[in-house]
Amino acid sequence: MREIFDDVKIVEFTQIAAGPLIGRYLSDFGAEVIHVESRTRPDPWRSYPPAKDGTPGLERGYGFAVYNTNKYGITLNLKHSKGPELAKKLVRWADVVIENFTPGTMSKFGLGYQDLRKVKEDIIMLSTCNLGQTGPHAKHPGLGTHLTNLCGFTYLTGWPDRPPYLLYGPYVDYISVCYATIALVSALEYKRRTGRGMYIDISQYESGLQFMTPAILEYTVNGRIVTRDGNHSPCAAPHGVFPCKKKDTWVAIAIFSEEEWEKLCRLMGMENLASRFKAFEERKKHEEYIEEIISKWTVKFNPKEIEALLQENGIEGVAVEDMKDLFEDPQLSLYMWENFKHPVIEDYVVQKIGFELSEETTKLKRPGHLLGEHNEFVWTELVGLAKEEFEQYKNIGVFD
């Protein structure tokens, strides 16, 4: 089977999520990807929760298995005197190098872009980090969760009368993953057209800020700071989340037009409200009152039931799904989840990229790798070390 990226070879010096997912997306569509770790410093994502049965262990980390499905995994200690030399052998094999160390780390190992160009002139190198490779704060260590605060998303999440909320995870890291992959495929296209490689600097901060554009414009032109407003919207009313029958189950309802409002009132058996709050301005003005009335109606249903009922009647009603619901959702079963087997975790569910291409079928190839699982194969078969050479390096501890 031909796959889109079956001519692309990637070596990644990456860890956690923001780096490894880039390679994962391309590996799903045929790229050969080598994930480099060392035994002294395995990818910390391996030990991150959740783990199989809630018991931590290097080979039990669920997120690691998902984000590294389809890759080859090797160990190489860059701090060993022979480490950088071997890393260059990987670079010679590769078309693309991805790294997400603190800025300057790769150069310290003699593996900066200029060093790599000497090994392979048309190499594409992508660096992704918190704040970008340059600038006064470049080397400040940070977490994606904090970066989400710095970008402004946190400030925009919550109720006007309460402090802003966390966006659960390192939200901005995941925005940067998609943008970085877009940049990488663009660089491959550039290479196809010009024959030249390039260096890509992804500042997760800057890619995150793309999603903030309207708030930036609103401040610079109108001088207004956009702030969190619960579930309300300047374009629709009612526009909120309403309780359902079972405790802590919810449905989201958004009414944009008079027609939708009439339909909702009819469905609730409250036709009198339809004309009373017909105009958007009226509904917006009395939104709290309307929300109370709707809540008394929605609480009679289960989220799935009321979602179907509202949608059948042409109204935007959507169940608020929790993490369990996501795996029972018929749409996500089609587009996102695929069952696979891992030697330690056993049955696990891989999160696929989420979109589909009409002419491609993707097939899962390998489960998330065990630490150093493909050392011998990669170093001898792909990189081309002789068996004795491989053993010699192994004996002096380069692979530890």
Binding site: R2, I4, P44, Y48, P49, K52, Y62, Y113, T134, H137, T145, H146, N149, C151, G152, L156, T157, G158, W159, P163, Y165, Y168, P170, Y171, Y174, I175, S186, Y190, Y199, Y205, E206, L209, Q210, T213, P214, A215, I216, E218, V221, N222, D229, G230, N231, S233, W250, V251, V318, A319, V320, D325, L326, F327, P330, Q331, M336, G354, F355, E356, L357, S358
Partner: protein, 415 residues
């Protein structure tokens, strides 16, 4: 070969999208493609989305619209009329990408769906973005940002337990859908260069937004637990179920700060205590604590409390700017909870020349710069947002129409 306008220089994109797909077309423009926004005569109805520049409710002043429609030309065209449809087909023959966000079934009715378009231009890459995807039982379901945030599970992770789940006030799901749409389109382009054939990219906004949940979904499959919204408390990072506040009040707003493991955590804890001590606000038990052997994930609630209470008191006395400055200097992990104003004055972004000033209708608009920095070529805002039908004549002339033809089309409501 040189690519004067960027990596996608020479490619043409037809953008028939509404909100769900604006950013998708913009990304192609950021990379140098020619993007033609095709709007119904009179303009895209979403041009009326508030707020507006200077609060002037003018269809060319919607902030949301001009945020994500830079780098595009505008052609007004009624694709439901025969003449308009012919022009569209003519353009499709000369284009590489088509982005659309119509409800599933609409283009089928007009015989402008993938099966028809692939006959007209086998190299075409068609990107269809819908709330739930084009197949499956919910393919016809309606959802705006609120509904997509609900369906993606992300909302269930945001908010306080005593109130309903909450969305991010600024729509986010359209951005998630758009970026994944652009990525799918570029995947298809890379494939097309080998096979000569385009393809159809089916992008469900729901699935794209599930990525925003980070690792939360895996808790269900790994251990059958369901992560829930927990306000300002950081959760999902420890096997012991540790949870602790990560947002603190400061003098002029809020600061995000957390306890953390490993070396970076030890530096963070030690350095903030040093800073507190300089202000006479570090209690003895924090000054004496062995931070190298402290792992917050295994700490008791009492221990966490003993640390964070004095920290919270201290943070009340500093400003956001002060915190950013000192955190960077002292290698303390944490950042202020920025507003748009804070982001715009961040010295780091200014030093990187991030912001791009673009004049538009008498205003100087400030846009975020490129999403990536390429060593060989520019990525970012190239052209201001188009006025309604601004490029009608320019585009139709290329198709062989004269000025009077264009005038006639205008009269007949085709453009």
């Amino acid at each position: 070969m040189e690519l004067p306008d960027g990596i996608l220089s020479g490619y043409r994109v037809l953008d028939l999208s509404r909100e769900l797909g604006y950013l998708c077309g913009k990304i192609f423009g950021d990379l140098g493609a020619e993007v033609i926004k095709i709007e119904p005569p009179g303009g895209d109805p979403s041009r009326l989305t508030p707020p507006f520049l200077k609060d002037d409710p003018h269809p060319e002043k919607s902030i949301y619209w001009i945020s994500f429609n830079v780098n595009k030309k505008s052609l007004t065209l009624d694709i439901t009329k025969d003449e308009g449809r012919d022009i569209l087909l003519n353009l499709i023959r000369r284009s590489d990408f088509l982005i659309e966000t119509f409800p599933a079934g609409y283009l089928e009715e007009l015989e402008l769906d993938w099966n028809h378009l692939r006959e007209i231009n086998p190299k075409l890459i068609m990107i269809s973005i819908t709330p739930f995807g084009r197949k499956g039982p919910k393919s016809q379901y309606k959802a705006s940002d609120l509904g997509i945030m609900a369906a993606s599970g992300f909302m269930s992770l945001l908010g306080d337990v005593d109130r309903p789940p909450v969305r991010v006030t600024l729509p986010q799901s359209y951005m998630w859908a758009s970026t994944y749409g652009a990525l799918g389109g570029l995947f298809a382009l890379y494939g097309r260069n080998k096979t000569g054939k385009g393809q159809h990219v089916d992008v469900p906004a729901q699935a794209a937004t599930v990525w925003a949940c980070a690792h939360a979904p895996f808790f269900w499959t790994a251990e059958r637990t369901i992560p829930k919204r927990s306000g300002i408390m950081l959760t999902g990072r420890s096997y012991e179920g540790a949870s602790y506040p990560a947002i603190f009040k400061c003098k002029d707003g809020y600061i995000g700060f957390t306890l953390y493991w490993g070396r970076a955590g030890a530096i963070t804890h030690r350095e903030i205590v040093k800073w507190m001590d300089e202000r006479g606000m570090a209690p003895q038990h924090l000054k004496e604590k062995d931070w190298d052997n402290f792992d917050p994930f295994y700490a008791s609630k009492e221990e966490i409390n003993e640390i964070l209470q004095p920290v919270a008191e201290f943070l009340k006395t500093v400003t956001k700017k002060e915190f950013l400055y000192e955190a960077v200097k002292r290698r303390i992990m944490g950042y202020p909870v920025s507003t748009a104003e804070d982001v715009l004055t961040d010295p780091h972004l200014q030093a990187r020349n991030f912001w791009q000033i673009t004049p538009y209708m008498g205003e100087k608009l400030v846009y975020p710069g490129g999403f990536a920095r390429f060593s060989e070529t520019f990525c970012g805002v190239r052209k201001r947002a188009p006025r309604i039908g601004e490029h009608n004549y320019e585009i139709l002339r290329e198709l062989g129409f004269s000025k009077s033809d264009v005038e006639k089309m205008k009269e007949n409501g085709v453009i």
